[in-house]
Each structure stands twice: as C-alpha cells, then as structure tokens.
Symmetry: C2
Subunit: 136 residues, 2 copies
C-alpha cells in the first residue's frame, strides 16, 4: 500500500531555485504560469508539498530518519513537521514506535494515507486549471 510519487502523480521535489511550483501551464508567447497550493487548518500550515512528500517517504521507508535523509531534511525538522501535522489533524497522520525488536519505525495511519491522496487530487485539479490558463 505504498503511495509513491509515481502512483499519486505528485511532482518531484523542486530544486531550490524553482520557487516550489506545484503546477505549470504550457509556455505561450514565452510566458509560463506557475503556482502552488497548500492547506491550512486554524490558520496554520497543515499540508504543503514538502509535508506531503515527507508523508510519502515515511510510507516508503518506514522510518522518519530515512525519510528525512532522502529529502536532505534534518531529522529534527522532519520530526517537528510530523508533530505539527499530528497535532492539527483530527486524528494522527503518522504513528511512531521508538526502539523495540525492529529498532523503531514510523508508518502512516489511514488518515495519513487519505491526507496524501486528498492533497495529490487537489494538485491534479490545480494542474488541470492552470493548464487551460493563458496570458496574452
């Protein structure tokens, strides 16, 4: 039940200088419209591209530290983002086990899997909108 980039059609992580575009129009007259969307809860960032990719990577690697490493993100930053999402969500998106026979690990709850899918669908609809946009 992995939700990888290829399955959800989530764009790959952007390079730093790409302003984190999530959707891109066609180039028309040399111009291209780009954009991003995110979801807030109680006025605070809840789901954004980086957060959702982190969820995907946790699902893929089964570990917060491996997920963070794959994104060149510090473990403490990844941990902070997960705590933040879990606190904002009606039910936690990520569950973690510290230590234990398998050396601990992390996995997505059903709510976490739904969060990825909801965000990916939003991004697909956003891409659909931006694709039919034109600037003179």
């Amino acid at each position: 039940m992995h939700s990888t980039n290829s399955e959800t059609n989530m764009p790959k992580l952007p390079k730093k200088n790409e302003r984190n575009a999530l959707a891109f129009s066609q180039v028309s007259n040399g111009l291209q419209i780009k954009g991003r969307v995110w979801i807030e809860r109680e006025g605070k960032t809840y789901l954004s591209w980086g957060r959702v990719v982190l969820l995907e990577r946790i699902e893929e690697y089964g570990s917060v530290s491996a997920a963070a490493k794959s994104m060149q993100m510090s473990f403490s930053h990844a941990w902070h983002l997960i705590e933040d999402m879990n606190a904002l969500a009606p039910e936690p998106l990520v569950e973690k086990q510290v230590g234990g026979r398998r050396g601990g690990g992390a996995w997505l709850t059903d709510a976490g899997k739904r969060a990825i899918e909801d965000f990916a669908q939003l991004v697909r609809r956003f891409q659909g909108w931006i694709e039919q946009e034109r600037i003179e």
Copy 2:
C-alpha cells in the same frame, strides 16, 4: 489612470507569516486551501505578487523610491526588480527619468499597465477556481 489595489482587486500585501497567499478558499471542516501563482519568462520569474504591487505603487507615487518605501522594500531591491522585468519583457514596463526639473521620476508604459491588468485578471480567475474547491 491609476491602477490601485482597489481597482484591480489585487489582494493587499501579505504579512510575512502568511506565506504570500494570493487566493483563499472558504473554510470547510476547519480546512482552508490557499495558493499563489506567478508568471515566468524564459524560466525566470517575470511577474509575481510583489513585483506587480511594486508596479502599482510606481503608478501611484510616480517614483521608485517612494514606491519601494511604501512596501518597506530597499530602493536597490526595487531597482533590481524593475531592471529585471524590463529586461525580460518584450518592451519595458517602467520608464525612469533621472534628475530634471521635476527631480526625476518613474512611470508605467502601456505594457506596464497591461502587465498589472493581466496579472490581476489571472489572480481573479485563480480565486474563482480556488473558491469552488473543497477538501473533505
């Protein structure tokens, strides 16, 4: 022929912690979708919210320094943004006069006025799209 925020319906400048949202959905189940768009030319940022507000302020104040000051932007940064837009555009968006009887000044060309209007219309369409979006 001023193009002020109120005429073009451009959102006001965001506070620093608002992630520069340009469009906002209704709040549904405590969730709100926010987003931003920008326009690139040759892979470089051409028009974005900050740049277009700078153009509007130049039209309003007739001066790069006054426009920059009103946005708490340094003069050199404003000057850089204008040079950048002028270089990317097929024809300059801003014309400047240094010194002279009226002490110099800056004003928008017709292309500059069109750029504001095109961007404002894009933002209005983006707002229209995001308003009908819902997250479960």
